[in-house]
Symmetry: C2
Amino acid sequence: MSSSSTAPPVKPPMRDALVTAAFRLFLERGYEQTTVDDIVALAGVGRRSFFRYFPSKEDVVFPDHEGCLADMTAFLAASGPECEPVARVCDAARLVLRMYAENPTFSVQRYRLTKRVPGLRAYELSVVWRYERALAEYLRDRYAGRPDGTLRADVVAAAVVAAHNNALRSWLRSDGEGDAAATVDHALGYVRAAFGGPAAGPAADGAPAALFGGPVEHPDDVVVLVSRRDAPLWRVVQEIETAFGRA
Amino acid sequence: MSSSSTAPPVKPPMRDALVTAAFRLFLERGYEQTTVDDIVALAGVGRRSFFRYFPSKEDVVFPDHEGCLADMTAFLAASGPECEPVARVCDAARLVLRMYAENPTFSVQRYRLTKRVPGLRAYELSVVWRYERALAEYLRDRYAGRPDGTLRADVVAAAVVAAHNNALRSWLRSDGEGDAAATVDHALGYVRAAFGGPAAGPAADGAPAALFGGPVEHPDDVVVLVSRRDAPLWRVVQEIETAFGRA
């Protein structure tokens, strides 16, 4: 027998034990009816241990956001100038999705809890705001010196967060069934289509994203087709193929 | 002398008196150091009068948002199908700007207060969220049945709110100097360029032509498609089918 197999199983850290105890009680009794004393009693630790990890009862509902925010900030700070900015913030948003998708059961439970408790909704809004600011700060830096740089940064950050959350919530509403990553990719592709630079690039994920609209840097890369609405569709497609040089 | 000049000046309503008293104290002593008792004493009314108008001390900081939300909801509900949806939510956002711009001194004071008090920041986030939801609900209704209707609605609503707030904050930071409406118009114009129909004109009708930008003379008859040349062909055809209403 190797030493690793004889070692006792790793005890979950106290922080995780507190989260587990808290959610068991929140689901059994309700959030408001559960006190910090109840949580520490079930977890078998003292009050001071709770407050070492969580400033308040609300914080135990969102135990992973601080870490995710730190990861996101580090990810963005590590971006080189070769990263296409919209693609980069989309990838940063995917870090949040990954956190949710890693533990579907917990994420769905929290989603239901948060919907029911107004104080938790407010907490969640402030968390979402911090993610949005992290994205916007990065974009403001990247767009510095461009006309409307801060405007563009704020709007793109808001659009990315809205698209991510639209997809995330639809996945949570489906009880965590389905492919969360694909749903979010599709939603982020819509934002990239509106604002993004070239679809290709280091972060390109094959999304048909940057297809339409958006400010165009290189007009040679763009096809404009004008057609009568009553044109036969086959004819339009034929024109498209010709225009794209793929007939 | 006319009767109007002899009439006693109209006494400001009690609600306004409470707001005025509250802000005088917030500025003199600070928000946390001011109690509801202090406010009612200065305004010369009882506690019950305060709570008749404001559920909490926080609410007196934002006395006009409930009314503005109601105005916005009514404005959107009164929209006919001829309204281009993105233009309409931009106009709805201008109602918020108008509320701020009507009283620059008060708006700037509140901006500074809100920046200093975390609890007020959280309150403001929840107000902003409610505006965003009002816009998104309208757009979801207008985009019902369209591919990605709720996604588009949520993203456009978030983008409009972000653009509005970017412009509003830059005006507030300048102490309410400058043309707030022009600043907001410019910011909203950026969002319409990304998502909207024709940039100007009452003829905007949400025709699919407008999907892809590009002002069009006769939107009913013509479809304009702008695409990157490297777009996958299947995606282009899909968009064409949608634009022609034949998917």
